[in-house]
């Protein structure tokens, strides 16, 4: 239903989310992001290329960390959203509060540019 894997590329922490993020599974996404922040990761990318579905529970997880990203000067970028998943972010305007780009390369450039 949900599969979360983590990898690091130099000083960039990449969390790959596969499957469905809903009310039952959003805790795993929450834990992955929370752990990354606790470990002091400053550049966090979320790979959504295999994310098939997201509900408000998943949106709420991202939203709940916006303040923490700002307070800790962390950079946080989502990439690879399908049209249907992107639509869910757009409907409430969350795409304006989060940094969302199309590809992994763009995401990596975004965090390196902002240093």
């Amino acid at each position: 239903m949900i599969n979360i894997t983590k990898e690091s590329e130099e000083n960039v922490h990449i969390i790959k989310v596969e499957g469905d993020v809903d009310a039952a599974s959003s805790i795993y996404l929450d834990k992955a992001i929370g752990d990354a922040l606790t470990r002091g990761q400053k550049k966090i990318l979320i790979d959504c290329t295999e994310l098939e579905y997201i509900s408000s529970a998943g949106l709420g997880v991202f939203m709940s960390y916006i303040q923490d990203f700002e307070n800790s000067d962390s950079q946080f970028v989502l990439f690879g959203l399908s049209e249907r998943v992107a639509g869910v972010f757009e409907i409430l305007g969350l795409d304006q509060l989060l940094t969302i780009v199309k590809t992994r390369e763009e995401a990596l450039m975004r965090v390196s540019d902002e240093v």
Binding site: A24, S55, S56, G60, S64, Q67, D68, R84, I91, L92
Partner: protein
């Protein structure tokens, strides 16, 4: 055309509900994005109901019934359950996104999404039966 499903009131059954909506409305000509929005709205109402019924991951004897009525220009969704948690929609005030961000709240977005997606949403409780009725006005050609 009317379609129905009855599932136990627990979070692990949300995927079953989503698949039912997806497969049922997949018989009609809807864009992928539109179809996902309708699946999302139903999922949000059911998830809300399960969370407020405090059923979480526990398997329950309680069930949720979902009816989908497809008409030429309208799709009507009814989510029905029997738990004692009637939702008073008249008292609902939509939270501001900025406030949710400031307070790091994870909840509060579900009903906002439902209201954006659907043309009409109403909650009714009668004789311990709660009914959430959602109406989407759209052309629904058969595939």
């Amino acid at each position: 055309m009317k379609y129905s499903i009855k599932v136990p009131c627990c979070k692990s059954k949300l995927k079953t509900i989503r698949s039912f909506v997806d497969e049922t409305l997949g018989q009609y000509v809807l864009s992928d994005v539109d179809l996902n929005m309708l699946v999302l709205a139903v999922d949000e109402v059911c998830a809300n109901l399960i969370v407020h019924a405090d059923m979480d991951d526990k398997m329950s004897d309680e069930c949720i019934v979902l009816n989908i009525l497809v008409r030429k220009n309208t799709i009507v969704f009814e989510v029905i359950d029997q738990k004692d948690h009637g939702f008073d929609f008249s008292n609902y005030r939509e939270p501001r996104l900025e406030d949710l961000v400031k307070t790091r709240r994870k909840g509060g977005l579900g009903l906002m999404l439902v209201r954006r997606i659907m043309d009409d949403v109403e909650f009714k409780t009668k004789d311990h039966t709660n009914v959430c009725r959602m109406v989407k006005k759209m052309q629904v050609p058969v595939a």
